[in-house]
Symmetry: C2
Subunit: 238 residues, 2 copies
């Protein structure tokens, strides 16, 4: 069997990404998880919303491809990026056989509000941020993929410190708690949350305080880069 024969038998390879950001929800106004989707302009599933992604360039690492597609659709760089799963069931594409290697990413709300990129992206009618708990019908098996990514994010939130990836450089503990509450979808005891974070050693006080609040000024914190913010698997950071 020649190489070209083998290549033609091999299914096409694509890389997609589930991108999470925290934004105020349209309905409740509270912070909620949002993900960007792109409208498909060709068959199959023309007109449906789908995860950003595309083919893998010949000389490109998988994570780089995910990052590249992410940047071109959202104009944002991920603060966290991790492989989710490879989806390759036969029936998933309708047309040609496609194996999708899917990543999930977090982008910082601070970055998102940074400059005019938000407006720029919003102006593209084929890219739109949706509330993760209120999605339209998606193309392919992308709904399954998003559900799995959501599960992974929420699970990981409870044993790692990825919440930091959602927030800016300096922050209050209340702000960090807000992130946890928005992602997990439940309220957390401020006292216990404080102890949990402080005992984990993942943050260090900057010594400064946030003023201008109507009440007692909260202490500002920064990440402790000395400790690993993700999990201790032997593959390390992507």
């Amino acid at each position: 069997m020649s190489d070209s024969t083998l290549a033609s038998m091999s299914p096409a390879l694509a890389v997609s990404t589930v991108v999470f950001s925290l934004m105020p929800s349209d309905s409740t106004g509270r912070m909620a998880l949002h993900i960007p989707l792109v409208r498909r302009i060709r068959e199959p599933y023309r007109g449906r919303w789908a995860l950003p992604g595309g083919p893998l360039a010949a000389d490109e690492d998988l994570a780089d491809a995910a990052r590249r597609h992410l940047v071109t659709t959202t104009a944002l760089s991920p603060t966290y990026l991790e492989q989710l799963y490879a989806f390759g069931a036969r029936g998933r594409s309708l047309a040609e056989r496609v194996v999708s290697i899917v990543y999930w990413a977090l982008v910082s709300r601070a970055n998102a509000a940074d400059d005019a990129t938000t407006a720029l992206v919003q102006s593209d009618p084929n890219v739109c941020w949706f509330d993760a708990d209120d999605l339209p019908e998606l193309a392919f098996d992308h709904r399954t993929i998003v559900d799995y990514a959501l599960w992974r994010l929420r699970t990981k939130m409870e044993y790692s410190r990825i919440a930091h990836a959602f927030i800016g450089d300096t922050f209050t503990l209340a702000g960090l708690r807000e992130v946890h509450e928005a992602v997990l979808g439940r309220e957390l005891d401020p006292a216990n949350f404080r102890r949990m974070v402080e005992s984990s050693d993942s943050v260090v006080p900057t010594g400064e305080f946030l003023t201008g609040t109507p009440h007692r000024p909260p202490r500002l914190y920064r990440y402790n880069h000395a400790v690993d913010l993700v999990d201790p698997n032997p593959l390390g950071r992507t």
Copy 2:
């Protein structure tokens, strides 16, 4: 860009599997994790040991491909099979670009000792079972892959009941504990282990006892198929 152009740019796709079984170690005689490796008969890495695997057939699901390669090299069916990771870094293959979707599998020691298949496989000089903690130099990045699979197995052992996949249909609690101890590499308190397993509801007593031991006959158990033996991720069983 035509489809054929795109396909030719797309890297080749392969599926490999890290297969774990428990066998008595050559050195200590105690149960230890072993994995089967195949000797490469072509460049690159000719002569080196590598994970069983190969190309993905055009009409084949990813997990089916993993299962197929597993059966052809070891003559065993997996009692557990799960996707591990997709490895696609540029430099990993030396020759053409290959993206490997790697699975990890468990096979039951009972199955392995079942019939003449063991001898059959042992007779093939290009397939050999190695102690997972005493591996030869491997081809490609397969050493990294095995280390990651080992980490996943040991991590999962602590919060799920995959240990059952290593053992036969009926078993004693001491036998199940032996599996845990061999995989985790440390001794466990028999009393606490018993309570842990019983409270998890994952086993049910058969009512029978194992006789012929030099001491008090232990009660025999069976899996409780009513409870999920793996983790509750929304993708379900592979």
